[in-house]
């Protein structure tokens, strides 16, 4: 047995964390969760032995921290390779133009755009949830139900942040935790509430949920405006042709952007509408680029606030 073999569950988790240093924080959270579940179950299954005695045998059953860390690294690399959407294949170095319009072939760009539109709804929901629960917690604080209410509130906020992480991973591909943070050994309510209040993660999670409202409004406006202008411009030949062949009823507005009675850039000829279509396609590509970039930046922001890195 090596001299620095872990003597307690906390020891073991610390060594596992050290062995996984440099890995994705989400992967570390998952690995620590699994290990803690196993170790606590193992200790509970041997009530006649001390924690140190159980830990002494752990390296031959569960595996030493380095072995377990290696297993996670290997599996993660394989799963990542298998689940990753293959990058759009380009021959040689793609030209600037090709890189710009290549965004139309990128699934992530569309899912990112969808995420931007969705943030208005989720942002409102998170904001209302946090504000309501903080107000109720403050109100209930003098009552006997104050403490369980606050615990339930923080618990639900953590589940929501896990769900938000899964949504972000699905739309942007940024690795987020697949497990919640382990609640640790069972303890009394007062200790748990104290731990929650001391945990900086609790506060950054609440902050994230609040900030999602203004961010969601901005994301939604950018995405919806860009989409609206892009689609409208790209479809203008259809409208001009529709008018010329009398498919559309007379009186359908050709105005693209109207301020009072002044219509700007409304094409009346086929040539004009074709130019407008080209403009619309460029706008749509730009919107997809913006969406991809925003979602990526947002995922990093979410990770900084939601995922534990001790």
């Amino acid at each position: 047995m090596s001299p620095n073999a872990p003597r307690s569950i906390d020891d073991y988790l610390q060594q596992l964390r050290a062995a996984l240093a440099g890995q994705d924080p989400a992967l570390i959270q998952d690995a620590l969760y699994d290990a803690e579940e196993y170790l606590r179950a193992e200790v509970a299954a041997h009530p006649d032995k001390s924690e140190a005695d159980v830990l002494e045998l752990i390296s031959s059953t569960y595996g030493a921290p380095e072995e377990v860390a290696a297993a996670y690294r290997d599996t993660e690399a394989k799963v990542k390779a298998a689940l990753k959407t293959p990058a759009p294949r380009t021959l040689g170095e793609p030209s600037g133009l090709r890189r710009f319009f290549g965004v139309f072939m990128d699934v992530r760009a569309y899912t990112s755009l969808f995420y931007m539109l969705l943030t208005l709804a989720t942002g409102i929901f998170y904001f209302v949830f946090v504000v309501t629960c903080i107000a109720l917690s403050a109100g209930f604080a003098i009552l006997i139900i104050g403490i369980p209410f606050f615990l339930a509130f923080i618990g639900i906020a953590r589940v929501i942040s896990l769900g938000e992480g899964r949504l972000l991973e699905a739309t942007t591909g940024e690795r987020m935790p697949r497990r919640p943070v382990h609640p640790g050994p069972p303890a009394g309510w007062l200790t748990r509430i104290g731990d929650m209040l001391k945990d900086v993660r609790t506060w950054t999670t609440l902050l994230y949920l609040l900030v999602m409202l203004p961010l969601g409004i901005i994301y939604f406006i950018v995405a919806a405006t860009g989409l609206g202008i892009g689609v409208r411009c790209a479809l203008s030949p259809l409208i001009v042709l529709g008018r010329d062949f009398a498919i559309l009823p007379p009186g359908v507005s050709l105005g693209m952007i109207q301020f009072g009675h002044h219509a700007i850039a409304s094409p009346h000829t086929l040539l004009g509408s074709l130019l407008s279509m080209a403009f619309g396609i460029v706008i749509l590509a730009a919107v997809l680029h913006v969406a991809r970039w925003t979602a990526r930046a947002h995922a990093r922001f979410a990770k900084a606030l939601l995922v534990e890195t001790r």
Binding site: A35, E37, Y38, A41, A44, Y62, G63, A71, Y72, L83
Partner: protein
């Protein structure tokens, strides 16, 4: 052959086999199982020398779930931390049948040489 070489060979072999064994265990049980329970069943079936460390099955369980071969749910436990229970999906059963066939073919093929060399 020294010990570390033997361990490395065992590890390479386990890469795919652990997933096959986990699918087989979950296919045979009527109820859902959680990680620790599965680990203990493996330990019991495998008296004496452990072929793989129990800690290595957790990441495999997660990757099988991510691939849609297993589903999982978290159940709070009063005795300790919440547990994640796993159940095999229909897709998992199909995969298990395919993999079992591959395993049987591989075993027959390898045995043909091993038996031949020892005879």
């Amino acid at each position: 052959m020294d010990d570390s070489q033997a361990r490395k060979f065992q590890k390479d072999l386990n890469a795919g086999l652990v997933a096959l064994v986990l699918l087989a265990i979950l296919e045979r049980t009527a109820e859902d199982l959680y990680g620790y329970e599965i680990a203990k069943r493996l330990q019991k079936a495998n008296e004496g020398e452990a072929l793989f460390k129990e800690g290595t099955i957790y990441p495999v369980l997660r990757s099988l779930a991510a691939a849609g071969l297993l589903t999982s749910r978290v159940v709070p436990s009063y005795a300790g931390p919440p547990r994640r229970y796993y159940r095999i999906t229909d897709e998992g059963r199909v995969t298990l049948r395919d993999w079992s066939d591959i395993w049987r073919q591989t075993r027959t093929f390898v045995d043909r040489f091993i038996e031949g060399s020892s005879a």
